[in-house]
Amino acid sequence: MASLKELKGRINSVKSTQKITKAKQMVAAAKLRRAQANAEAARPYAARLAEVMGSIASKVVVSENSPKLLAGTGKDQVHLLVVANSDKGLCGAFNSNIVKAAILAAKDLQAQGKTVLFYLVGRKGRAVIRRNYPNAILASFDTTDVREPGFAEAEKIAAELVSLYEAGKFDVAHLFYAKFKSALAQDPTQLQIIPVPAPKAVAADTGAVVEYEPEEEAILAELLPRYLRTQLFGALLENQASEQGASMTAMDNATRNAGELINKLTIQYNRSRQAAITTELIEIIAGAEAL
C-alpha cells in the first residue's frame, strides 16, 4: 500500500498532466478550425486547375515528345515514396498511421522487385523509416522552422522533386498523407504524383472550339509542374487539418483518462486516510482502557 504522501504526489502529478492535455486539446480545436478554413479556401483553385488539366490532357496525345512529367521515364523501377508527417507529437496515431501505410506500400513494391526510396516531409516518422530502411532515404524536407506549411513550402518541395526526377533518381513518385474526413477519422492516403496521372476529362463538351495560346502542348508543359505544386499544397493542408483533428481527439481521450485516474486515486487516498485515523483511534482507546 502506498503511503498517503505518495498518493498525494501521484494525484498532483496526474492533475498537472491533465492540465497539459486539456490545454493542448483546446489549442488543437482552435487550430483545426483555421486549418479547415484554409483547406476550404484552397479548393476552388485546385478544382479549376484539375478541370483545365482534364480538358487539355484529353486533347493531347501522350507520345515520346510529351513532357516527362506526364509521360513518365518509360521505366517503372525506382519508386519514391513522399511521406508527409507533422513536426509535433501529441496527436495520437496520426503520424504512425501514415508511416505504416508508407511502409506497407514499400514492402509491397519491394516484393514486386522494385527499388524503394523515401522523401520525408516533417520531423515525425523520420526515425521509424530510418530504422526500417536505413539507406533508402533520398532526401527530406524540414518544416520545423515554419509555423504552418503553406504554398511556399509546397513550391520548394515540388521543385526539389522535379529536379530529382529530371536527374533520373526515380521513375514514379507516390505521396502519402492523411486525408481529413472529420476530427475523429483521418484516412492515410496514397496518391501517385509523378508521372502526373491525367485527370479525368470532364465531358462538358459545350461544342465551342477553345482557342489555345500558345498551343496545347506548351500550355500543358507549363501546367504540369503547377498541378504538382497544387497537389502537394492540398496534401499539406489536409495533413494539417488531420493533425489538429487527431490531436484534438487524442487529447480529449487523455483528459478523460486522467480524470478517471484522479478519481480512482482520490478514493484510494481517502480510504487509506480513513484507515489511518481508525487505527489511531483504536490505539488511543486501547491506551485509555489500559489505564
Partner: protein, 85 residues
C-alpha cells in the same frame, strides 16, 4: 453587359465580380476580354492585370505571377500562384 471575372490563388479566391473589361498580359501578348468572348485559354506572363470596372473608368492593376487564364461560358478565370495586394 458585364463580364464575370474571377481571380484565384492556391490560398484563396481573390476576386469574383462583374466588371466591364479585363486586360490580361498573355504569354504571347496582352489581350482584353469583354463579355461574350470566344472560349480561349492562355498562359499569363508575370505582370499586371488591368481591371476596368466601367467603360471609361480608370483601370485597377493587380500584379500576378505564374498565371493562367481561361475564358469560358461563365466568364474569365485567372489562376495565379502569387497575387500582390
Amino acid at each position: 453587359m458585364a463580364l464575370h471575372f474571377e481571380l484565384v490563388t492556391p490560398a484563396r479566391l481573390v476576386r469574383s465580380e462583374d466588371v466591364h473589361m479585363v486586360v490580361v498580359p498573355g504569354a504571347e501578348g496582352e489581350f482584353g476580354v469583354l463579355e461574350g468572348h470566344a472560349p480561349f485559354m492562355s498562359t499569363v506572363r508575370d505582370g499586371a492585370i488591368k481591371v476596368y470596372r466601367t467603360e471609361n473608368g480608370q483601370p485597377e492593376e493587380i500584379q500576378v505571377q505564374g498565371g493562367f487564364a481561361e475564358v469560358g461560358a461563365n466568364g474569365l478565370t485567372v489562376l495565379a500562384e502569387h497575387v500582390e495586394g
